[in-house]
Amino acid sequence: MSVVRNANLGPDQNAPFQMRGGSFTLMVLRLVNPDDPGFFPQLAGKVRQAPNFFRNAPVVLDLDDLSAGERTYFDFASFARRLVELQLIPIGVQGGSPEMQAAALNAGLPLVPTGRAPRSEPAASTGVAPAPANANGDEANAVDEKAAKPADTAQPTAKAKAPRKEEAKAAIAQRPTLFINEPVRSGQQIYAHQGDLVVTASVSAGAELLADGSIHVYGALRGRALAGIGGDTSARIFCQSLEAELVSIAGLYRVNEDVDEAVYKKPVQVYLSQGYLHLDPLF
């Protein structure tokens, strides 16, 4: 949403308020099967994995799956109360049938305008290998959580997170770049969801950088970097010193051992071209 000014107000200095458009990054909680008795226990478990990230987080409820079946009624009010108990604050809904949206509005949850078309198929796998773990390590930055189907546990988490192929391009542009200004320590995972990742420090061995977009490291890259994990083959990885344990773009990877001596510890650009991973010196 761009800045919108109400023409009627004009530049009125005496107005006690200002109406403006705002653009926000919000977490979306997709209600795949809210009747499942494991819904709240599993959600609570997820929240516990990164309590700081989820504490008092505003959440938009995605109703597409709710409206798909025979359901005609959903108790939004008590559902919202249970979310608040987990310190997740529902602030609106997206998707779903007009009836569901009206019921939500009655409970104080308005329809939040989005730019995308409603989904009609489940998320397809984009064959990411090796499957990156979801960002539930010490840091859980910019994670767009969707409530997974309870029976989904066997699937690699990469599948649950990958947006559909045709939406991959749209998914990239939606989020602003994630900037990390401190060294990324061993064991930390940073996931730039639907955007690029820029690190202005070194990345230790044992650390993992994941992005749907490109990854830029202004320092030594000693850990793992996986760009374009949503399937974007145009994503690239840039670093000032390539010492990575593994680099990958859209699932195609190369390990440290297979990196050419000529580019090791040099400023390098990694990109995919004609199905082959290129590691080119930058200067």
């Binding site: 700081n52 010490d138 840091e139 401190e182 060294p183 990324v184 320590r185 061993s186 064991g187 930390q188 420090a201 070194s202 230790s204 061995a205 044992g206 650390a207 000693r222």
Partner: protein, 271 residues
Amino acid sequence: MGTIITVTSGKGGVGKTTTSAAFSTALALRGFKTCVIDFDVGLRNLDLIMGCERRVVFDFINVINGEARLHQALIKDKRVDNLFILPTSQTRDKDALTREGVEKVLEELRKEFDYIVCDSPAGIEKGSLMALYFADHAVVVTNPEVSSVRDSDRILGMLASRSRRAELRMEPVIQHLLLTRYDPERVERGEMLKVDDVLEILAIPLLGVIPESQAVLRASNVGMPVTLDEKSNAGLAYLDACARFLGEEVEHRFTKAEKKGLFGRLLRRSA
């Protein structure tokens, strides 16, 4: 209000307990009222290194459980004024530590002591997390060796995200690197990482370099913190590190191999 210094590392056997004992002794010798606490429940060593294992009646866990008062468990050091030890239990394990219990004990100690040194166990599980949670300062003990450096890096990540200061978005824990068991001759031969190599990876301020020293084993055998061995290079290095911690500018010693004369080589003098 006392300052909490946690001595941690990730890797085991790098010199945390040696450092906790030596550093707290150095602070006490400077006149600061210092308490050193053993957080390694079930594998307690601090009382041995401090030489008070024969005077332990009550311990940290007893205090947490309300079975004893703090002053019944604190042991006064016989050699150095202002120095107190809070030993831990040998019969229980880390599950006996609770955050509320630890917080309560530390708050009580903060009122009385200038410095509280927490000797962390190895690892990244409950015991070590509990030891680093309340830290104001962290001394990350590292050997100049690849696995120790990797583990220290991991611990630095945890200090940045799992400490109370990180969770409450306060000023971050102040981190210090202490390089221990440094052998300049092996460094020159290329067998051991240099100070600069370690600093490049860990990128935190260097508090001190403690040389490999036979005095450390001798000191622990007799239950004496190595700082009290005036003839040992390790002891002197710990005193230097303490001075730097308190803000003094002290040049790093014992980081270059000594050029031994003929007699030196013949006699194989040890520090």
